[in-house]
């Protein structure tokens, strides 16, 4: 069960970090409708995170909050994409477009996981992620094919996020083992459908696929991100100030 739990951390930490990043936008969005939309997406991701961390924690006798608030940076298993800074709205949308496309492909396959809990989370999340993808795609079109400035910013946003795409599709021993047992999806097998889904959106938005290579690293061990410790420092500050307290 520990390997499944670790897999649940992979999935859950991604969702948690993204929720944390998106949560910052609420009250700062470029239009009030977007305060609502980004809050929606943040809550969906936080919902996935809570479910997955609770599930992971059951293997170790820990709660979702134990895992979210009392693990140190090098114990998290999130990918670097979701840890990237919000930047401007174009950069946030670029991150959303990439991650929602990836999550959509992933959850579409995970609904058939041999692990019932993971299959159930995926089934629930899939509908939400379809909305996230639609939201990101719509904004990619508007920004890419909007004004000269928005085109430039959206293109830059894609450029700044693209180095972290490769990592999403990196396999490791745990994933290979779980995939063989029908529990996980081997990330590398999602890349083709990811490309096929995201490329037409980028093209329709009159944007180009960024000409930038993947960033070295990609082992979900946090060995290559300067952002993670900043995110956790803020997220955990109050919980750690009162260890053992309930809220």
């Amino acid at each position: 069960p520990e390997d499944v739990a670790t897999y649940a951390l992979y999935l859950g930490d991604d969702a948690l970090m993204l929720a944390q990043r998106l949560g910052y936008w609420i009250s700062r969005a470029p239009e009030m409708e977007e305060d609502v939309a980004l809050a929606n997406i943040a809550q969906d991701q936080l919902g996935h995170a809570r479910f997955l961390l609770s599930y992971a924690g059951s293997a170790w006798g820990k709660t979702e909050d134990d895992l979210a608030y009392f693990r140190d940076a090098n114990d998290f298993r999130s990918c670097r994409l979701v840890e990237q800074e919000n930047g401007d709205f174009g950069q946030t949308i670029a991150r959303q477009l990439i991650f929602a496309t990836y999550q959509y492909e992933l959850f579409s396959r995970l609904v058939e996981s041999q692990d019932e809990t993971i299959a159930a989370v995926a089934a629930k999340a899939l509908k939400e992620v379809m909305y996230h993808l639609d939201h990101a795609a719509q904004w990619t079109l508007r920004l890419g094919d909007g004004t000269e400035e928005s085109h430039r910013r959206m293109q830059e946003g894609l450029y700044y996020m693209w180095p972290y795409v490769e990592e999403l599709f990196a396999d490791d021993d745990l994933l290979r083992d779980l995939a063989e047992r029908g529990i996980a999806v081997l990330p590398s097998t999602l890349r083709e459908s990811f490309d096929q889904r995201i490329q037409p959106i980028i093209e329709q938005a009159t944007l180009e696929l960024p000409n930038v290579t993947g960033a070295y690293g990609g082992d979900r061990l946090g060995r290559f991100s300067e952002h993670r410790s900043h995110i956790l420092g803020e997220m955990q500050v109050l919980a750690r100030q009162f260890p053992g307290a309930t809220w």
């Binding site: 948690l16 929720a19 944390q20 949560g23 910052y24 609420i26 009250s27 700062r28 969005a29 470029p30 239009e31 009030m32 409708e33 977007e34 305060d35 609502v36 809050a39 929606n40 943040a42 809550q43 936080l46 919902g47 995170a49 809570r50 961390l53 979702e64 909050d65 979210a68 608030y69 401007d88 709205f89 079109l141 508007r142 920004l143 094919d145 909007g146 004004t147 400035e149 928005s150 910013r153 803020e234 997220m235 500050v237 109050l238 919980a239 009162f242 053992g244 307290a245 309930t246 809220w247």
Partner: protein
């Protein structure tokens, strides 16, 4: 004038005015002012609580807090829409806010410094808002009333959630309880002032009551609020910071001490701890978002012209 007569009759019958109905200019103006202030308050009111989203001490509380701040954005949007039915577009209302011409509730010029403040805002500020808003569900202007019905449902959740935050703190460690008490100490007075100045000093109230916009006087609403929160505070095990607060058997109400109206007036006039900060944040969000809104318009215009081209082509082809 037939319009005036019909309007007076609707008011007399306590029926509802629709946007298409004739209405006196003063009535329209009063409503635009009040409804847009209310909308602005929801939007500015997101800030103190949003300050704690990234630091909420449990995932459950983070979830609830995000939902709450989201609801506030939603309320702002309903209320701007309802105000637009009176002929003033949202852009113009937002401009008035950003230029400092329009006001919003002074309570949001107080800072949310600790996690307990999030609880106190939910319990006291949303609690006071509900007292104000429940009667507004029957406001004579129909779109306002309808918006209020929807909003009040959500606000009562919020108040409950705020109370729960304080309950957990009050039953937690001594530091947590002290944090809760401190928050209540700071928000109690300003929350009571949310109902506006004492009736003697509230010249506009009477006209609003005659128009069936307002149903109860400021002091009546304040009394109801105090009567509601005293037992809630007892259930929390927290003290309300008013030595004069006590049950008056004769009146069947709680008596309470004089509020600091000097402070109230000075906060309204811009001297609050966060007036400038709140406006700066709102302006920055607006300015940083300008290129996004322009892009959305430009894209929409392109799409419309593409559809027109397609339609033209179709006509020529036909």
């Amino acid at each position: 004038r037939a319009g005036q007569e019909r309007f007076d009759q609707i008011i007399a019958e306590d029926s509802r005015i629709e946007p298409s109905d004739w209405m006196p200019e003063g009535y329209r103006k009063t409503l635009v002012r009040q409804m847009s202030q209310h909308a602005h308050s929801e939007i500015i009111g997101m800030q103190p609580e949003a300050n704690w989203i990234t630091r909420a001490p449990s995932l459950k509380r983070k979830m609830i807090l995000m939902a709450k701040v989201q609801d506030e954005a939603g309320h702002g949007l309903y209320l701007y829409s309802a105000t637009e039915t009176l002929g003033v577009p949202r852009d113009e209302l937002v401009r008035q806010l950003l230029d400092g011409e329009a006001k919003y509730s002074s309570i949001f010029n107080y800072p949310a410094m600790t996690w307990a403040d999030v609880g106190a805002i939910g319990w006291l500020v949303d609690g006071a808002a509900i007292q104000n808003q429940v009667p507004l569900c029957r406001a004579s202007f129909a779109p306002y009333g309808r918006a209020m019905v929807r909003i009040c449902k959500e606000e009562s959740f919020h108040q409950r959630q705020g109370w729960e935050i304080l309950y957990e703190l009050s039953n937690g460690t001594p530091e947590q309880k002290a944090m809760a008490q401190d928050a209540v100490n700071r928000f109690y007075g300003p929350a009571l002032q949310m109902f506006g100045p004492p009736d003697d000093d509230s010249p506009n109230s009477q006209q609003s009551m005659a128009w069936n916009i307002k149903r109860f006087s400021n002091d009546e609403l304040r009394q109801r609020f105090v009567d509601m929160i005293v037992p809630q505070a007892q259930a929390l095990g927290l003290t309300l910071p008013d030595p004069d607060l006590k049950w008056n058997e004769e009146r069947g109400h709680y008596d309470f001490g004089e509020l600091d109206w000097g402070e109230f007036m000075s906060v309204i006039k811009g001297k609050g701890p966060c007036n400038v900060q709140r406006m700066q944040r709102r302006r920055e969000a607006h300015e940083n978002g300008a290129w996004v809104r322009e892009a959305a318009s430009a894209y929409a215009a392109k799409q419309a012209s593409r559809q027109q081209d397609a339609a033209d082509t179709h006509l020529i082809g036909a």
